[in-house]
Chain length 413, copies 2
């Protein structure tokens, strides 16, 4: 497996595009994107666990259930979440998939049904969805589609995101090179199960629905669901993985070495996107990685790591490059997992080094100056050992800054 | 029942005092306080649910178990949490209670045992406790005790608190006037079960241990445990309620009208202290009250109200006086309680008026200008109806401001 350049258009047979249709007030920012596969795709998807679900989430879930997991395209917008918008919102989401299906069918002289198109939205909640803007922009959107349209489609789903978050990997399956590419949007309202995020992943691998679904769940649990920016789980979270089989590899249809290698490559891409989202968390100045080892089992390690990642006080200390490890112990203590404080070790680390600050639940002497230097980097790590068990997990987050408060104090304006 | 002036010294027979002994680096701030009852007290207490418990919490819990709930005094300090301090921390906490017991016994020519003294600490975690400072300050502390020492004792437990949070109420029990007084400390690391808070409540009522304990649990659940400042549950949370019986009322020994009236008065005081803590939340510019009605039961309403109070995005919107009610719906949706978004109403309110913003889960037109005015006050309310059930609950929180990040970016320095 190796990382390669590109994103959702890196695998064979995927086109993408993006335009400004007027959902956002901005006169320049793109707000409508489309990803299309030249061949029908096996698809797997995961959606928000929030009881309040956006219209786009409800419609995409319905479509995937109707087709048993077949997709041709995903249409996505920013500037309006189409959540808490009632029946009108549902009609708008359905119309978006219908427009895409009709126009793509006409352009490619094929028949794509409405339910072979998924829809995803991000932006402000509770504002009527301006579906007229989508209608009038549809021809331009179709015209924008190319096999180099990744960037335009990605821009079209960005809101408070500052950086583009994408990537691609390739690996050999049964002697054939297959590729997986992805893009993601997400900067705030991000908390596991799932992050406020839209993520679209494409692959040209031939793989069965069951295997694709299993691989996606495995990877989302160990990447996006271990990310927290602000503890808020959004109404719109969506991860869609589409596999069109155009690589021509011997199909992956059951667990085994080829499935494992595909899943490992997919996880590597998901972790890359997760880290990019943490790094681009609203207002974030640092990516914070929390590693917990020695727990009784992986689930306990996961709960502990996520509790530390989500602590406002730990996040604020990271902003201040303050080696306040007592807050780390505190966040471990309220995670709701059995914990013996007397067996907890903590150290802070960055690429340049590591400094132990707590051993067996009590302080070890350390140089405040060295700790400050280590915590001042753009990427820092909190390494925690809680005992001698086999459970390990990594979670990702970011620091809490003035800028986060500024961004979210008046998001709608 | 009526509110009266004063705090823990308002009930008969309670003395308090506070001094600077040198635990804090400050040359002027008090850091050691003591509350003492001239008669033995029946006592009830609740402590943090964090698995990492401060030495003071462990020692106080042990003492109350040993005596079956008898207390004479509470010694408390700020500037050092005495948490994650190992065996040395436990010895220091025990020594604090012993010093108080010995000095109080000598001064009042009585015998007070170590375990009739509780201890509470607040401040930085994981720094060796400077017990020598307490030893050398002990005589001055005893000398400072008066029946007007409430303010000095309260100052001695304040850390990032800006305002003093105290109060007292009186009521008649069986024709006799009894009084309940309290003080609390808490501004950050505050989240239900319990807030990072120290709270000491005194009463001269005669009341059995069982009734006192039951009343305290009833009231803490509906006050302090519905408060959130930053989602972090501390290692040191302590609420101690001491009843010395000096009012001479017919003792309350079983549930009934007198028990109910005592509990109602205690709840009123606890809610007052809770609101004061929310108002004084680290960096807070507004007290935010969240009321949920129409839930299936009280516990569901409580979970929903606390989820909204804890949402960083709701808190940041309150800071910006931004009527972003979609974030309220979102926080209700991920609370983990059954919810039909189609039956949710939301309005924003202040003392001057109320403005509905969402009805049946969808927007209602409203004046942004009016909403901005309502949300710009120092005390605002988010009123939520989720259905037609009998469950109601109120939670309290505050906005998320630049100042919170500043305070917590470098707390230790």
């Amino acid at each position: 497996m190796k990382e390669i350049a590109g994103g959702v258009c890196a695998p064979k047979g995927f086109l993408a595009g993006g335009i400004r249709c007027g959902i956002k007030a901005s006169a320049t920012k793109r707000d409508l994107g489309l990803i299309y596969s030249e061949a029908p795709c096996t698809a797997a998807a995961m959606f928000t666990s929030n009881k309040v679900k956006a219209a786009s989430v409800l419609v995409s879930r319905e479509h995937l259930a109707e087709t048993g997991g077949i997709l041709r395209a995903v249409i996505a917008n920013s500037g309006n979440a189409n959540a808490c918008t009632g029946e009108a919102g549902l009609s708008a989401a359905r119309l978006m998939t219908r427009l895409a299906a009709v126009k793509l069918s006409a352009k490619h002289s094929i028949t794509i049904t409405d339910n072979e198109v998924a829809v995803a939205s991000t932006g402000v909640i509770g504002v009527p969805f301006p579906v007229g803007a989508v209608e009038s922009g549809m021809d331009a959107l179709i015209a924008s589609m190319t096999d180099a349209g990744h960037d335009a489609a990605l821009e079209a789903i960005m809101t408070t995101d500052v950086r583009k978050k994408d990537g691609a990997v390739e690996l050999a399956i049964g002697g054939t090179t297959v590729c997986i590419g992805g893009m993601t949007k997400g900067a705030g309202m991000i908390h596991p199960n799932m992050a406020t995020m839209l993520c679209f992943i494409t692959t040209d691998a031939a793989i069965s629905r069951d295997c694709l679904d299993r691989a996606l769940r495995h990877c989302v649990r160990r990447s996006f669901n271990r990310l927290t920016v602000d503890g808020d789980t959004s109404t719109n979270d969506t991860v869609i993985l589409m596999a069109n089989g155009l690589a021509g590899n011997p199909p992956i249809t059951a667990p085994g070495p080829e499935y494992d290698r595909f899943t490992e490559a997919l996880l590597s891409l998901c972790v890359k996107l997760t880290r990019a989202m943490a790094r681009d968390g609203e207002g974030a100045s640092r990516l914070v990685t929390i590693t917990v080892r020695g727990a009784a089992e992986e689930a306990a390690a996961e709960t502990l790591a996520k509790s530390v990642a989500a602590s406002s006080l730990v996040k604020a200390a990271c902003f201040g490059a303050d080696a306040n490890w007592g807050r780390v112990l505190c966040a471990l203590g309220y995670a709701g997992v059995d914990l013996d404080p007397g067996t907890v070790d903590v150290s802070f680390a960055c690429a340049d080094g590591e400094i132990p600050v707590c051993r067996g639940g009590v302080p070890v002497p350390f140089s405040e100056e060295d700790a400050k230097r280590i915590l001042s980097g753009e990427e820092i790590e909190i390494r925690i050992t809680v005992g001698k068990g086999p459970g390990e997990a990594t979670a990702w987050g970011c620091d809490l800054t003035y800028e986060y408060v500024k961004i979210n104090g008046d998001y709608r304006s």
